[in-house]
């Protein structure tokens, strides 16, 4: 059970949140993107052995969708992609 930093509430237990998955690039323009790019955006997410940027929804708290960097090896919440926590 992690402690997740919510920008409004501060650190809260993971069980108050719903996992929102890794942050993808911005949604491509559906009229401009090729089929391949569209499918790639839909199905392929960053899966790093290290810090990953991801979203959580503070559904049982203030309702904020927040973004954190978390190291997938340690589960430490870190500053950014370069911080191996």
């Amino acid at each position: 059970m992690m402690l997740i930093p919510c920008p409004f509430c501060g650190h809260r237990n993971e069980s108050e949140f719903a996992y929102g998955g890794p942050v993808k690039p911005d949604r491509p323009d559906p009229h401009a993107a090729s089929d391949e790019d569209w499918v790639d955006w839909l199905t392929t997410v960053p899966n790093p052995l290290g810090p990953v940027e991801e979203r959580w929804w503070h559904v049982k708290g203030c309702g904020t969708w927040l973004t954190i960097w978390r190291d997938t090896r340690t589960h430490c919440v870190v500053e950014g992609s370069g911080d191996a926590g």
Binding site: E14, Y19, P22, D40, N47
Partner: protein, 416 residues
């Protein structure tokens, strides 16, 4: 290969078992092989074995970063079954179950395969409807699934004393899958390793692959390890959660996410349950090992993770669900718990294919891949050897995502 039998055991007992040969050799690592398989887990070892046995390709090296059999094959709940829902999946798992059943003889290694039946304990009508759908589709492929009454469920699982008529989710019946069984996970890895070794495959432990290598033509040409470069025109990646870590070294992105799946065992007690018990509505399953431990699996943690750890709240959900149906387990004690990395695809079905990098094969997305080891190994070996997919693996190619043709085994159970 030294033969294993009661007779050989007797013979070796005479001199205090000092004459047993190693189960596999430790040959020097060569510079080049026909095929390199990365990962000496269940799928990697099975692939190497079938390459040698079925297709005569014996110039094979299996490279393992740690110890062989140390991946998910070492940390699962050993359930083998074929009760899937779709035409795409069922025959694959039927084949896998059949291969498992013959494996102890074939590999001369007792996997302790115990075809002991799985009973699904059903607690909601939508789930019952879904399982009935499975039943009739499975029947097309010769996989067994029979509905039984609540009374029969309780007769066959005497410890199931919860879920009565007044319960939050009362038991409404069950489904019996007589093809299901359990076996000894370590033995599966060791038996395939020994079998592959005997046919000439080389097993190299403590040999991490740090990088895949591509030739000028774009095709794979080998791998890099701290022990040196190993060349091969065909490389198969069978490393479960670390698949993307490896494929990204050649710029290949795959639709996989790595997450953590956990399991736990109770203290050993005398035989109490002789079937695999699956409670899909409550979200847990278990079987009792030959040692007497309850081996219990539950819900996954959806977050990406390369850490083998247990989420307390997820674990508690599984435990309470179990206690609601098996209240006498309250006094039973947790003995050990652990996690393993699994990688999951957008449709939660596996990927077995040659990638866009010619000569580079992957077997991945095995979320619960233990039951698939024999068929996964056999079909991947077929693809590597013949260059065309085995009919059983055809639905699981990477191609399917090009048009978002998902093979959805889950996601069918929303309540009306």
């Amino acid at each position: 290969m030294q033969n294993y039998s009661i007779v050989s055991l007797l013979r070796h007992a005479i001199n205090g078992h000092a004459t047993w040969a190693p189960a596999w050799r430790s040959p020097p690592l060569r510079e080049s092989y026909d095929v390199v398989v990365i990962g000496a887990g269940g799928h990697g070892l099975a692939t190497a074995y079938y390459l040698a046995k079925e297709f005569g390709i014996t110039d094979v090296a299996v490279l393992e970063r740690g110890w062989l059999g140390g991946g998910n094959v070492a940390r699962n709940t050993v359930t083998v079954r074929s009760n899937y829902m779709r035409d795409a999946s069922i025959p694959f798992y039927v084949k896998s179950v059949a291969l498992y059943e013959g494996l102890s003889d074939e590999l001369n290694f007792n996997l302790m395969h115990s075809k002991r039946t799985m009973i699904d304990v059903v607690q909601t009508f939508p789930k019952m409807r879904e399982l009935r759908r499975r039943q009739l589709t499975m029947d097309i492929y010769g996989s067994t699934y029979e509905r039984i009454s609540t009374e029969e469920v309780r007769r066959r699982i005497p410890a199931l004393t919860g879920g009565g008529p007044g319960a939050r989710l009362p038991v409404i019946g069950g489904m019996v899958h007589t093809d299901a069984g359990v076996n000894r996970h370590d033995a599966v890895a060791w038996a395939y390793a020994r079998g592959a070794d005997a046919r000439g495959v080389e097993l190299h432990q403590q040999t991490p692959v740090t990088k895949l290598l591509r030739g000028g033509d774009g095709a794979v040409k080998g791998v890099e390890t701290p022990r040196g470069i190993v060349r091969a025109r065909k490389v198969a990646v069978a490393v479960s959660g670390h698949t993307t870590t490896l494929t990204e070294t050649v710029g290949l992105r795959l639709p996989l996410r790595t997450m953590n799946l956990t399991a736990f065992v109770s203290e050993p007690v005398k035989p109490l349950v002789d079937v695999v018990v699956n409670c899909p509505d409550s979200g847990f399953y278990f079987s009792q090992s030959d040692k007497g431990e309850m081996v219990i699996g539950g819900a996954p943690d959806m977050g990406q993770s390369f850490r083998r750890d247990v989420k307390q709240h997820v674990f508690e959900d599984t435990v309470t669900a179990m206690l609601s149906l098996f209240p006498s387990f309250k006094k039973l004690k947790l003995l050990r718990q652990w996690g393993g990395h699994v990688d999951i695809t957008p449709d939660a079905s596996p990927i077995m294919d040659e990638t866009d990098v010619p000569g580079l094969f992957v077997t991945a997305g095995w979320w619960g891949g233990y039951k698939a080891i024999p068929a996964g190994g056999l079909t991947l070996a077929h693809l590597i050897a013949k260059g065309e997919p085995h009919p059983l693996m055809a639905p699981f190619t990477l191609n399917r995502f090009r048009h978002l043709d998902y093979v959805m085994e889950s996601g069918t159970t929303t309540a009306r």
